[in-house]
Structures are given as structure tokens and as C-alpha cells.
């Protein structure tokens, strides 16, 4: 009974209602492991640390949260009539950010999967937009808002990062409950045609290996103002 009581208090102190019971661990991105190792090394050496600055990301903040994508694909058949290979609505549940304070970073990571060991990889053209209206899943196409990024990459090669400053501003203005993005990837066929080696369809590989996540950093001024003593 006593240990339960302490458990409860300790969890409250950590900012949790109850002990999480995840079915399985999410993959922990390298950046978070790198930060915690640096913090542990600093603590072991007794070096003083600025808790409110994440030097690995170059932003102020004392809480980092990685949100998994909970969105859905719009087309999983072969390249559709407009040649796009992959259309996905990315959905991030921002209401998970419960603590007070302001957002200082929202970094989208798109992992397109490893480089293929064939040198000839189709060039990919990616467009990332804000979704204004998700429409009805599976029946209507989402209504798009502003274009956030458009780029071409010479084939899948690990993770791409996008700092979404507009999302940070919007969230600080009116604490959005969710973030919906629309990702479209087209395959530039010309570099790819005429190759007689039977390669796997790049769309299938992309659809299978795409993994998206959103890293958000929040700064709680109550914890981060140097002169404030925390209320016990």
C-alpha cells in the first residue's frame, strides 16, 4: 500500500496521471538518445547544465516529445493518373502536448527508407502541404492549404527533416489540437525507364518503408526562468 502511494505521488511529480503501459516500445530516434547520453555524461562529470536549452537542436526547451504519424494513405495502387506514386495524409495528435508553456520547435522527419543498392534509383519529387479539410477518408480528396515544402531527392536515402516554423506560430497562437499534412511523392520516370534489370516498383517500396514522426519542443517558463524557485 505504501509503495503504491509513493508511486502515485512520484508519477504526479513527473507530470503523469498514471504509469504508462505501452504494448511495445516505439523506435527512439537517434537525436533523443544522443541528447540523453549527453545529459547523463554531463551529470556524471558534475558539469553544470542549462536545462532549458537543447544544444543539439539549437532551441530553448525543457520537454521534447516525439509524436508518431497516425495518418492514412490515399492511394496504394500503382502511380495514379497524375503520376504521383504516393499520397498520404499525415496526422499528428497535438492535444498530447498538455503542459503549459510555448512551442519552440516542430520538426517533421520523413524516413523514406534506406538507399537502394541499385545505383539507378528513380528521382523523387516531394510536395508537403497543410491540409485545411481532411475530407471523408477514402472518398474525397483533402482540401489543401499552404504549400510547406517542395523538393526533389535522388531516390530514397534515409530521413529528411523539415522545421515547420508556421506550425510553431499557429500552435502558440491557438494551441491546435492536431496537425494534418498532405504528402505527395512523384517518381521521375525518365531516369528510370529503359533499365532492363527488373527492379521492384519504387512506389511499393516507398509505401512500405515511409515512416513519419513529429518532434516538438516545449519551453515551460515556470521551470526555465533561472530565478524562480520551484514550489514544493
Amino acid at each position: 500500500q505504501t509503495s503504491d502511494f509513493q508511486d502515485y505521488d512520484f508519477l504526479q511529480f513527473l507530470g503523469l496521471e498514471k504509469a504508462p503501459s505501452p504494448h511495445r516500445f516505439q523506435p527512439v530516434p537517434r537525436i533523443l538518445r544522443k541528447i540523453i547520453r549527453a545529459r547523463e555524461a554531463a551529470a556524471a562529470s558534475g558539469a553544470s547544465q542549462d536545462l532549458c536549452y537543447v544544444k543539439e537542436l539549437g532551441v530553448r526547451g525543457n520537454l521534447l516529445r516525439l509524436l508518431p504519424d497516425q495518418g492514412f494513405f490515399l492511394n496504394t495502387q500503382k502511380p495514379s493518373q497524375d503520376g504521383s506514386c504516393l499520397q498520404k495524409v499525415l496526422y499528428f495528435n497535438l492535444s498530447a502536448i498538455k503542459e503549459k508553456g510555448k512551442l519552440t520547435m516542430a520538426q517533421l522527419t520523413l524516413d523514406l527508407g534506406p538507399r537502394s543498392y541499385y545505383n539507378l534509383q528513380p528521382e523523387l519529387v516531394m510536395a508537403l502541404s497543410v491540409v485545411q479539410d481532411r475530407g471523408v477518408r477514402g472518398r474525397s480528396h483533402p482540401k489543401l492549404g499552404r504549400l510547406l515544402a517542395q523538393l526533389s531527392v535522388p531516390g530514397p536515402q534515409g530521413s529528411l527533416q523539415f522545421n515547420l516554423q508556421g506550425v510553431v506560430k499557429d500552435w502558440n497562437r491557438n494551441r491546435l489540437k492536431s496537425l494534418d499534412l498532405y504528402l505527395q511523392i512523384l517518381v521521375q520516370e525518365d531516369r528510370y525507364s529503359g533499365v532492363n534489370v527488373q527492379l521492384e516498383n519504387p512506389c511499393d517500396r516507398l509505401i512500405r518503408s515511409l515512416h513519419a514522426s513529429l518532434l516538438v519542443v516545449t519551453l515551460n517558463p515556470k521551470h526555465c526562468h533561472p530565478s524562480s524557485r520551484k514550489r514544493r
Binding site: 504508462p20 503501459s21 505501452p22 527512439v28 533523443l32 538518445r33 536545462l51
Partner: protein
């Protein structure tokens, strides 16, 4: 006045840092706390006689309070408190599949004093 030599065995009752390690596995929290495995929940405990307040990393206030206690025992002795604290960072997963790295300041007692 010469500082009285502290008699043998007297030290362990004096104000100092006591080490205590909280192992998250003992709490069953290793299922959701990714790192670290636990943390040092040290605490300060021990006596703060007048002799202590003159050379340990104690405050002037402690010296005065110990002096007043000697003059008038109704004034309580100086107390043993943390004088240097350090933060910890906890990497854990919540119920919504979010991975969270949170920093908590003033969690570990590095030094104690009167």
C-alpha cells in the same frame, strides 16, 4: 577560539550527503522508462553543531543560528540542507505512443551543508 577537534566517530552524525539510488526496475517502471535505469535520490541528514558551521560549506546564517543556539537553547540549531543540486533527464514513452524526453531540475543532491 581554537576550533575544537572533532572526536572520533562523531563524524557520521554530522550533516552530510547520504546516497540513495532509485532503480526504476524496482518500481516496475522499466517497462516505460527508456533511460536512465534510475537516479540518485540522495538526501541530507546529520547534526549541525557550532563547530560544523565554521569550516563546512555552510552559510553565515547557519553560523549565527548555531551561535544563538549556544546562547539560548530555545533557538533551534541550524539544519542540514542541500547546497548543490543537479538535474536529471528522463526518456520515457506515454500511453499515446509518444516518446518524451523531459528534464527535471534540482533532482539530485550533490552536496549538503548547514
Amino acid at each position: 577560539a581554537a576550533i575544537p577537534v572533532v572526536p572520533k566517530g562523531f563524524c557520521k552524525n554530522l550533516c552530510h550527503r547520504h546516497q540513495l539510488f532509485i532503480n526504476f526496475q524496482d518500481l516496475g517502471w522499466h517497462k516505460w522508462v527508456i533511460a536512465p535505469k534510475g537516479f540518485m535520490a540522495n538526501y541530507c541528514h546529520g547534526d549541525c553543531p557550532f563547530s560544523m558551521t565554521t569550516y563546512l560549506n555552510s552559510s553565515n546564517y547557519a553560523f549565527m543560528q548555531a551561535l544563538m543556539h549556544m546562547t539560548d537553547p530555545r533557538v533551534p540549531k541550524a539544519v542540514c540542507v542541500p547546497t548543490k543540486l543537479s538535474p536529471i533527464s528522463v526518456l520515457y514513452q506515454d500511453n499515446d505512443k509518444n516518446v518524451i524526453l523531459r528534464h527535471y531540475e534540482d533532482m539530485v543532491v550533490d552536496e549538503c551543508g548547514c
